[in-house]
């Protein structure tokens, strides 16, 4: 088979699997699990094959035009360069792990067939985005992901949180997609084509008429999909979905799409200095804000969600300083360890029967109940905190190194300001990241109090994939930083000495601070009993999680935080804690800025419709109604009235006849 055929099969297989799963889900339940896992695994194998054949050389390109589409042609185009090949491998790895994990996680879920099919469809859409060489085809995958995320986040639709979260995810990403679409059209109009290669050629020759406007429009869509400030608010709420879905969305698919898109079209953004600065500011605000918020969250998955936003901030930061190699490098390592973190968190929630860190902090021995999750999560958290020699260290240092280059003015097209912003906020975020990773680890695994409930061994499918993902989390960065430049633009990804030392030092400071705070507050934890566990610990993991999510607000008074005085985050953040826990009131601001005006407008429209438009309608109906009433009057039911009318008519007719007959 040619490489092109293989590459076409990569997105096609999960799509067919999704189709078959949806069709056979009810009639042949026995086929659902194989149909969910096998196509994604096959796609993984094919993606690896494609990556090997591409080998970092010249991009594989193929295109065919189905039908003429007017002035700007739309091609079914394939454009696989080193970025695409490697991201596709990451996507298929994570998707395979998620599918295998889900067979255990949603063991008894009646809606598993549709769930698995949607995950496959989601994977297929992401692969389409990755491989597509045409922006219109890319947009198809982009939007299919949006709708899949809506369904998957709302998987526990019995709970109001999940319903609200799915609608929010859909609306917020769509809010970004509208300017994104306009930006795409503007870009294609300038280039005369939706093909990425043609667009990049046009940009290289300076053919873009309004680079800043186009770049900013595209950035809106990217911010929506990749959960960057100010459109990131859907991501923490999307934790109301099942944990494997969170892993898929956060590690490989949805949020990666935005970063990947900017990486593909980086020259377009580089054409505008303003866009790069905006990108840098966006990254900086996102990183610091999410780091602070993550420190204040009580729900273990919301901590990870904010950490995803922060790590995505690193990637956009790398893009803002013009180093897409570093960005995609971080995307790869982050994909591995974030998927691992989420899947391990799913195991923890199942074992502990709660998603609240405050409750876990009052359970001892949790780490002995789930040793697989404990060890793999430790690896992943170290990677997240960028401690050498874990993967996260190398990718994060490559980002910081690129920022340092930009500060020195070594990078073309990149303003110094962008470099400074990314460097300073990146270092600050390293501190925060290490702190919240440490807090998460200490609270989850080193609680003190009653023994954790014993629910028996976790399903093997769930623990196995943890170890599979632990390998790249541990070693990918160390092995890859030398070979990856061959696949990417050729920029060096080796950690620079200064940033390495400063970054690692800052991270260690964060670890120590968090540990110190935890030790300081250890005594208080025993004094304030807190916590609630799921009502059905013997159920499958999905059921336990759904119950934990539904009961969090009821048990702790808030969806995001818990009134736990022993929380080291509370001590470290001080007065900021209150604001950080609710994401710095961004939702409230949006409610005041957008929701209320829209609702007021809606009530105004309703008023106009009811009182103004309706009046005309009623007025138009008044005359017929009046006539009808008058006619109805004649139907009295009184025989004498009828006979009177009849005889009157007879008399008139008779007189008329007589008059006519006599010729009067």
């Amino acid at each position: 088979m040619t490489t092109t055929t293989l590459a076409v099969l990569v997105p096609l297989l999960p799509f067919l699997g999704a189709l078959a799963g949806l069709l056979l889900g009810r009639t042949a339940p026995g086929f659902v699990r194989p149909l969910a896992v096998v196509p994604v695994l096959a796609a993984f194998v094919l993606a690896v094959l494609v990556a090997v054949r591409q080998g970092g050389g010249s991009p594989i390109e193929a295109h065919t035009q189905l039908t003429p589409t007017g002035s700007v042609p739309i091609d079914l185009a394939l454009d696989i360069d080193g970025f695409a090949a490697l991201v596709a491998v990451l996507v298929t790895v994570v998707a395979s792990c998620v599918q295998i994990y889900s067979t255990g996680y949603l063991r008894d879920d009646p809606r598993y067939p549709s769930y698995a099919a949607l995950v496959s469809l989601f994977t297929s859409a992401m692969l389409l985005v990755v491989y597509s060489g045409d922006l219109m085809v890319l947009l198809v995958g982009w939007e299919v992901m949006g709708i899949c995320s809506y369904f998957l986040v709302g998987h526990y639709w019995e709970t109001p949180e999940a319903r609200a979260a799915s609608i929010k995810a859909f609306l917020v990403t769509k809010l970004g997609d509208v300017p994104f679409l306009i930006g795409l059209f503007a870009l294609a109009t300038d280039a005369g084509s939706f093909r990425i290669t043609r667009i990049l050629d046009t940009v290289a020759h300076g053919g873009l008429h309004h680079p800043t406007v186009v770049a900013l429009l595209l950035l809106a869509g990217v911010a929506g999909k990749s959960a960057q400030f100010p459109l990131h608010t859907w991501l923490p709420d999307a934790m109301a979905g099942p944990t494997p879905v969170s892993a898929l969305i956060h590690a490989a698919t949805m949020v990666a799409a935005g970063v990947y898109f900017v990486a593909r079209l980086l020259p377009v953004f580089e054409a505008s200095q303003a866009a790069m600065v905006v990108l840098a500011v966006m990254a900086g605000v996102t990183m610091v804000g999410s780091g602070l918020s993550a420190l204040a969250q009580d729900d273990i998955k919301r901590v990870l969600a904010y950490s995803t936003i922060g790590q995505l901030g690193y990637m956009t930061g790398a893009l803002a300083v013009g180093d897409r190699g570093a960005a995609v490098f971080h995307l790869l390592t982050h994909g591995a360890f974030k998927a691992l973190l989420f899947l391990a968190a799913g195991v923890i929630i199942h074992a502990a029967g709660t998603n609240s860190l405050a409750a876990m902090a009052r359970m001892s021995d949790l780490r002995h109940r789930i040793p697989d999750a404990y060890w793999t999560m430790t690896v992943a958290l170290l990677s997240l905190a960028a401690i050498p020699p874990f993967s996260g260290f190398f990718s994060k240092e490559s980002v910081l190194g690129a920022a340092e280059h930009a500060v020195h003015g070594d990078t073309a097209h990149v303003p110094d300001a962008a470099g400074w912003i990314v460097l300073v906020t990146g270092l600050l975020t390293a501190l925060l990241t290490a702190a919240y990773a440490t807090r998460l680890w200490l609270l989850a695994f080193h609680g003190r109090g009653a023994e954790a409930p014993d629910h028996g061994r976790q399903p093997r499918t769930m623990t196995l994939v943890l170890w599979v993902l632990a390998v790249p989390s541990l070693a990918l960065g160390g092995f890859a930083y030398r070979t990856l430049p061959d696949w990417f633009d050729g920029q060096d990804l080796t950690p620079a000495l200064t940033t390495s030392v400063i970054g690692t030092g800052v991270s260690l400071v964060g670890v120590v601070l968090a540990y110190g705070a935890w030790r300081h507050l250890a005594a208080r934890a025993a004094g304030t009993p807190l916590g609630a566990v799921a009502a059905h610990p013997e159920g499958d993991a999905a059921l336990v999680e759904a119950e934990a999510i539904a009961s969090h607000a009821a048990a702790y008074g808030d969806l995001a935080s818990a009134p736990d005085p022993a929380d080291p985050g509370r001590l470290l953040l001080g007065p900021l804690h209150r604001h950080a826990a609710v994401g710095f009131h961004l939702d409230a601001v949006y409610a005041a800025l957008f929701v209320r005006p829209v609702q007021a407008g809606a009530s105004l429209v309703r008023f106009l419709d009811r009182e103004v438009v309706e009046t005309y309608v009623r007025g138009a109906a008044a005359l017929p109604r009046l006539l009808g009433t008058a006619v109805r009057r004649s139907q009295t039911g009184n025989l004498q009235t009828y006979v009177s009318a009849l005889l009157a008519g007879t008399v008139v007719l008779a007189v008329a006849v007589v008059l006519v007959a006599t010729g009067a």
Binding site: R632, Q635, T636, G637, N638, L639, Q640, V643, S644, L647
Partner: protein, 128 residues
């Protein structure tokens, strides 16, 4: 005798009966008015019979025979009519034509009265 005398008297009696049929509220008074109309017709028949038997040498006396038939039929009609009125009165508790409006459009105040009367009649029967 001028033929116009009986003819005009007949027309006037007929219209008087017509007024009674249209304006009276009690069903039995309506029946009385119907009798008046029938008698007006009878007068017509008799007068024209007399005129024809002289003027046209008519020996059939169809007018007088028809008058006799009309009187007989009127007697039968009054018997049946009274039986119907009594049946209605027994069922509805009234012989008032204004209140027998089951075919009225909608259920106005008259319909309600009707319903009330029927309910009252049922109640009276049940208590009897």
């Amino acid at each position: 005798m001028h033929l116009a005398y009986p003819a005009v008297l007949s027309a006037l009696l007929f219209c008087t009966g017509l007024y009674g049929v249209l304006a009276r509220r009690n069903a039995i008074l309506v029946l009385m008015s119907v009798e008046l109309m029938l008698n007006a017709v009878n007068l017509n028949l008799v007068a024209f019979d007399v005129w024809l038997s002289k003027a046209a040498r008519d020996t059939l006396h169809s007018g007088q025979a028809l008058t006799l038939f009309t009187i007989t039929i009127a007697a039968a009609e009054i018997g049946i009519g009274l039986a119907i009125v009594l049946a209605v009165h027994r069922n509805r508790g009234t012989a008032d034509i204004d209140r027998l409006r089951d075919t009225a459009e909608g259920h106005g105040p008259d319909g309600d009265d009707d319903g009330d009367a029927a309910a009252a009649a049922k109640k009276a029967e049940a208590s009897a």
